[in-house]
Amino acid sequence: MAEHQQGSDGADGHAALPALSPLRQPLVTAPRTLAAITDDIVGPMNRRPTWKWGAAFAVAVSLLLIGVGNVTYEILTGIGTWGLNRTVGWAFDITNFVFWVGIGHAGTLISAILFLFRQKWRTSINRSAEAMTLFAVMCAGVFPLIHMGRPWLAYFVFPYPNTRGSLWVNFRSPLLWDVFAISTYFTVSAVFWYVGLIPDLATVRDRATGLKRRVFGWMSFGWTGSARVWSRYETLYMLLAGLATPLVLSVHTIVSMDFATSVIPGWHTTIFPPYFVAGAVFSGFAMVLTLMIVARKVMGFEHLITLRHLENMAKIIIVTGGIVGLAYGTEFFVAWYSGSAYERFTFINRATGPFAWAYWTMVSCNVISPQLLWFKRLRTSPAALFVLSLVINVGMWFERFVIIVTSLHRDFLPSSWGSYAPTRVEVCTMLGSFGLFFTLFLLFVRVLPAISIGEVKAVLGFARAAGAGHGAPAPARQEAAE
């Protein structure tokens, strides 16, 4: 019976859907049984890793090791091993920090905001997007720590009772806000991610045997799929999504305040929070895109992560890219309009000074290149999207570099004007962070269900409720049952 149903459904499902809602591509173009979906997602975890995965993992790990080596050297020798100087006190370190925090944004944003807006298409990508968030925040977190002159005293930034009469911390410092923002963001995202993972862990448990079963049994908290728990679970998930959404916005707002609250021309500006958030979403989605396009190829998820997912993300990139472009323009206008000679100089210097090359790289990557996405052919071509997403990530990295370095290297007193050039250690440290990120991500797609089984099944339900939309699926059932 099951076979028959599947057959028929499969047939008219494919035929019917376009007719029913011509505007809608199917969310999931999978063979239509729940078991099949479980197989598709859990399957890769049981198969031996493909050579592609192995190669990717090898590269990632070696990058990670390079990074670890250089960071160790830096911590043992001194920040002097970086190219910084008395004028430019931050460069690669904080650039990478902001870059990774930015990457870390799309994850929770996709999950939370799209969940709240009931955007069903999120289901195939939210799991890995959230994982990406966690790993990116880890990478980000490393930089504030190693950029300290005395990282072994980093615990000073926590307000713990001490013997210094109690000397607390400076709650007025944006850096301290960062400490709280980043750790909160990491914790909440982790909880959100793990809560979403539990039912799927149970699924894996119930198909596994031996040690694996015990491990996943431990990890899945004894989940039985009870409907009572499910309904409570839905509430919790909704709450977490509701909490995560403003959190996502607050984190990059606070990161932007590292600059906005300072006096340095080019930093001291009020448009930074929205500007940074947009930028973060922009870069975040680009990174999700990069990862998804790779993942669906390598893990064979083409039918779960469909062109429609890619296209939707491309659209969001156009929008956020536009916002970022607008911000660039606004900065210049305000610099001129403010009448502050320092502001004006800073921005003229940005576009024409020693670091003009970085500025124009940024503009062409972030403002010009996304305009190609107005063409549907490009929006729906994974190859093109892949290239574009990489370009955008390069551009967003340069955005942070431009903001930090060009503002610092020529500020108020011309006597102190200087320059900056990275050293090998800094470059290797940055590579290391990419190594860390991809190592974690590749492990993730191997050992955990990279796509939310439960949610995809739920969506499948709607997909199968041919045409009747989200409403009561019952009538559709009868038809199908005939």
């Binding site: 001194g78 008395r86 410092s173 301290l176 007193l413």
Partner: protein
């Protein structure tokens, strides 16, 4: 690149609104400048760290880096021992500083010093304010001479034929050699520095008495004093040096004389100069016109400056003398006429007429200061002064007569060539550095002795090296001015097995017959003083003596020296002048000059001076071939291009620097750099190039200025260790200037374009709750509120304050590579900006230290409260709390915060002794900056408390303030309206830097004043 701000601004008499030209060669972005080379660990430096910090830091590292730290944290810190004296000297209390008045050994000026010693080691040099000549002024070199004391590369024992040996052997050998010379009827020559004291002269006359044909040659590397003395000999018959007193001058004309930086006695001269130009006190301001070939800080300070090549100096002076002759009387007129007769005349430079007019108007209050070793120029300058009649006034006086039989360097060369010299003794001087010809002749002298403090270029060629140690280790007196003697007392026992020069002279007397033999140096010196000064004193000898030693100087009546009578015969003068070598004009003329830091190279091994940015070029750790920007452009050279300079004498490779203010056909090179590590010391080695080989070979006459030189590009590049690479103010009102008229008019109320330095307060000193332009009530400062006032009208950029700050605050030396990476650690820097045109620039200096802003941007952003505001308005930096995020430095508008990029290691236990025990030595990874010498504030407060009295204005003097030769810096309590600092902030010239940011700087700057004279 930004364009100059608003070229069409009206030419109001304020620098801010004058048109600014773009920086010359923007080094920014050039790979050479931003040094992308991979820093391999900490640079080789002699930065200083106390030994104890090591264990503690490792302890913390361990703590932070692993979870086992929890345990580690509870461990007891390693044990420390206390090793008391076995018998404590009575005068010494551990932890309490004692001060000794003594004389500076930095140069021939021998200014009066107060040396601070802690637990037996000198840790700071300050000026002796009571000293009648130096009046508390100490230059950068004097400040740094402290580090010279702890120079581990000094000789640690005497040497015989290169091998270390005992003093007794050395003395025997020297005495034998001297006797041999006498027996052989050969001459014995002693090469001594200028300005050796009376006692030393007495000691040398003992030698003369013992060994017959003993004559001394007074030597100064650049030959300036020599040339001057020759000129005065021609004019007066005696080889005297004029002593200038500028306090009362109305017109000061400097001719190739960097008298604020390197010439004769820069410290005292700068003090007098400041007095002469202090419009607030005098009601008028001496006008200063400078004629020079390369830009010096003296030229930078001048009201008008004319760039002349060396060959144009004599014609200009001749024209000036001619112009001064009409209306003048006295013997000078006739002499001048004769002199001008024999000198080649050229067309009069345009500015001379006006200059002569000003000088004539000033009469005896006009002074011409002439530098360089061109005897013709020196003679003309002397004549000009004579025509002004200031030989009879206090403007120029003769320095004390020299009592020893004397000969000149030229004669010595001749004698050496003829092989008439049986013994040649070098009293610490190092002629072979600059005089290769002498080196050649040296081998033929049986006995050669050097008392240099290290195995320098001369000592290494001498058979015997009898190291004299450091000035702070010896009793020695000096006579800076007739009637004034400075007492130099030792402040520490000799660190090494060295012996003061005076002792050596005495030890080398012929033994075994009659009086005064074997007398020790101190006894000899004291005996002389008792004979000459104390005999007639009413006081008990001992009291009087103690008094002199305590005060550090002695003024004998008459305090004033004799005027200089011109007694020369015109014929002989004319003949001599005609015979002196002229400075020929050439396509490209070389100027070798001393630099403010290293001077003639004597201090090449001094890290503080090597890392001291040159006040004008801002170059550290080396020298350059400075060209006029237009010339460099024509030659297609940009900063850092290495060129080869070739003169008839030799070749040198140097990087080019396009230096505004250098005369168009001049290449200017600082001497004293590029000495070999084996000769000068490890620190000097490998930085810059030795320019002396370029000096013309001739024994006398102009050797260092006006040498014809050729320049060829090598095509290679060498990054320059510049501490400042951008010369324009970009039209920002950082350094402000007012004209003299305005400055005098402004009594109290603000000048146009000058916010009164009040941070928008009702009164500057209202301790109650103050509302500024801020959003919230400001924090009250009920007690004291410390602040500085910096008078840019007085600051000459001489950088004495910078070195003083280094010494006081244990600031590490980071080395050339790190400076190239722009990581010098100076808490106090001097910003230098240009105005005007590239070839005729105006220069402004601005000492820049932590502004101790009330609304300090750095404090708000520190996550761990490592920098917060004190109840007395200080911006405190707590090193042990700092985790090193560098956010504060980024957010500092004046970029005065310095970060410890590495542990600046300090291998040398000798050098470590210079550390100030009242200031912590910062570890790697922490931020540091100017503390307004908070240790001095606390010291003074504790003192006042113990004496149960309130702190008085002047109790506290910051390191930079104390030794400032021009007293440009004033520290004080801003809550006390009567304090000097508060009063200065009330001046109409006062303003704050970046006031528009409302950071409320506690440092007030007083706008620069220029006396533009008849056309200004």
């Amino acid at each position: 690149m930004s364009k100059p701000k608003d070229p069409s601004a009206p030419a109001a008499p304020s620098l801010s609104s004058r048109r600014w030209w773009q920086t010359l060669d923007e080094v920014d972005g050039a790979p050479a400048a931003c040094g992308d080379e991979f820093p391999d660990g900490p640079p080789l430096t002699i930065g200083m760290r106390a030994p104890a910090t090591e264990t503690r830091r490792d302890f913390f590292k361990l703590m932070g880096l692993s979870a086992t730290a929890a345990m580690a944290a509870c461990r007891r810190a390693p044990e420390q021992k206390i090793l008391p004296f076995t018998t404590k000297p009575d005068e010494l209390i551990p932890g309490v500083a004692s001060w000794y008045a003594t004389a500076c050994g930095g140069c021939d000026a021998h200014c009066g010093l107060l040396v601070k010693t802690r637990d037996g080691r000198p840790i700071k040099v300050e000026g002796n304010p009571a000293h009648p000549v130096s009046r508390g002024a100490v230059c950068a070199v004097g400040q740094a001479s402290l580090l010279g004391l702890y120079d581990g590369d000094r000789s640690r024992a005497p040497r015989l034929a290169g091998q270390t040996d005992s003093w007794t052997h050395v003395d025997e050998k020297v005495r034998a050699g001297l006797v041999a010379a006498r027996e052989a009827g050969k001459a014995i020559r002693v090469v001594v520095p200028w300005g050796i004291g009376r006692t030393e002269q007495a000691a040398l006359s003992r030698l003369a008495a013992d060994y017959g044909d003993v004559e001394v040659v007074r030597f100064d590397t650049m030959g300036e004093r020599e040339a001057m003395a020759d000129a005065y000999q021609a004019l007066t018959g005696t080889r005297l040096l004029p002593e200038f007193r500028l306090d009362d001058a109305d017109v000061i004309v400097g001719v190739a004389a960097d008298f604020l930086g390197t010439w004769l006695a820069p410290g005292p001269l700068a003090r007098q100069y400041a007095a002469a130009r202090d419009a607030d006190v005098r009601g008028r301001m001496a006008r200063h016109v400078q004629l020079e070939s390369t830009l010096t800080i003296t030229g930078a300070a001048a009201d008008a400056r004319h760039a002349l090549s060396p060959s144009q100096i004599v014609p200009a002076l001749a024209a000036l003398v001619r112009a001064l002759m009409d209306g003048a009387t006295g013997p000078a007129v006739a002499l001048a006429r004769r002199a001008l007769g024999v000198l080649p005349t050229s067309q009069t430079p345009s500015f001379v007429e006006a200059l002569a007019r000003e000088l004539r108007a000033a009469g005896p209050r006009g002074v011409v200061l002439c530098g360089g070793d061109d005897r013709r120029a020196q003679t003309l300058a002397a004549l000009a002064n004579a025509l002004l009649g200031n030989h009879e006034t206090a403007a120029i006086l003769a320095t004390p007569a020299f009592t020893l039989p004397e000969t000149t360097r030229a004669t010595l060369h001749a004698e050496l060539r003829e092989g008439r010299v049986g013994a040649l003794l070098f009293a610490g001087v190092n002629p072979l550095l600059s005089d290769p010809e002498l080196a050649a002749a040296l081998d033929r002298v049986p006995l050669t002795v050097s008392t240099a403090d290290r195995l320098d270029e001369t000592a290494v060629r001498c058979g015997i090296h009898a190291p004299e140690g450091h000035a702070m280790e010896a009793w020695l007196d000096h006579a800076p001015r007739t009637g004034v003697e400075t007492m130099g007392q030792p402040t520490v026992a000799p660190l090494f097995d060295t012996r003061p020069r005076l002792a050596s002279w005495l030890a080398w007397q012929e033994q075994g017959q009659g009086k005064g033999r074997g007398q020790d140096a101190f006894g000899f010196l004291q005996a002389r003083w008792q004979r000459e000064h104390l005999a007639d004193a009413g006081l008990a000898l001992q009291d009087h003596w103690d008094n002199i030693v305590r005060e550090g100087y002695f003024v004998a009546a008459p305090a004033d020296a004799q005027p200089i009578p011109l007694t020369a015969d015109g014929e002989r003068l004319a003949a001599w002048l005609a015979a002196t070598p002229a400075t020929p004009a050439s396509a490209l003329e070389l100027v070798l000059h001393e630099s403010v830091g290293l001077r003639d190279g004597t201090h090449a091994n001094n890290g503080w001076l090597q890392e001291l940015p040159d006040p004008i070029t801002k170059l550290t750790w080396g020298n350059v071939a400075a060209l006029a920007p237009s010339r460099a452009r024509d030659l297609g050279l940009s900063d850092g291009d290495v060129v080869e300079l070739a003169t008839s004498a030799g070749k040198v490779r140097l990087p080019v620097l396009a230096q505004p203010g250098v005369a168009p056909n001049v290449v200017a090179v600082a001497v004293g750099h590029g000495r070999a590590a084996a000769r000068a010391g490890a620190i000097a080695g490998g930085h810059g190039a030795d320019a002396f080989p370029l000096a013309s070979g001739q024994a006398a006459g102009a050797r260092f200025a006006g040498v014809a030189v050729s320049l060829t590009a090598t095509g290679t590049q060498q990054p320059l260790a510049l501490s400042q690479t951008h010369g324009s103010q970009e039209g920002r009102e950082l350094v402000r200037e007012v004209a003299l008229g305005q400055a005098l008019a402004a009594t109290g109320e603000a000048l146009p374009g000058h916010g009164k330095a009040r941070n928008g307060e009702a009164t500057p000193a209202a301790p109650k709750e103050r509302h500024g332009n801020g959003l919230w009530a400001e924090h009250p400062y009920p007690g004291h509120r410390w602040g500085l006032a910096v008078d840019l009208a007085k600051c000459t950029g001489c950088a004495a304050c910078v070195v003083s700050c280094n010494a006081e605050n244990n600031i590490p030396i980071v080395g050339e590579l790190e400076v190239r990476r722009r990581r010098e650690m100076h808490w106090l820097r001097i910003d230098r900006y240009y105005a005007g045109t590239a070839d005729d620039p105006e220069v402004v200096h601005q000492p820049m230290m932590c502004q101790h802003c009330e609304n300090a941007p750095c404090e708000t952003v520190c996550p761990v409260l490592a920098t917060v505001h004190s109840g007395e308005g200080l911006n405190q930096q707590i090193y042990n709390r700092c985790v090193g995020t560098r956010y504060c430095a980024n957010n500092c508008p004046t970029k005065v915060r310095r970060f410890n990029w590495f542990d600046y290691p300090h291998g040398d236990p000798v050098q470590r002794m210079v550390l100030n025990p009242d200031v912590v030595v910062r570890s790697r990874g922490v931020m540091e900056k100017c503390s307004m010498c908070v240790q001095r504030i606390e010291e003074a407060r504790a003192q006042a408390n113990r004496e149960a009295r309130p702190l008085a204005d002047g109790d506290i003097r910051t390191a930079c303030q104390q030794s400032c030769p021009t007293q440009a810096i004033t520290f004080g309590d801003l809550n006390d309206p009567a304090s000097a600092a508060s009063r200065l902030r009330e001046s109409g010239r006062a303003y704050h830097i970046l006031e528009e940011l409302n950071v409320k700087s506690q440092i007030a700057y007083l706008a620069r004043v220029k006396n533009r004279g008849e056309h200004g």
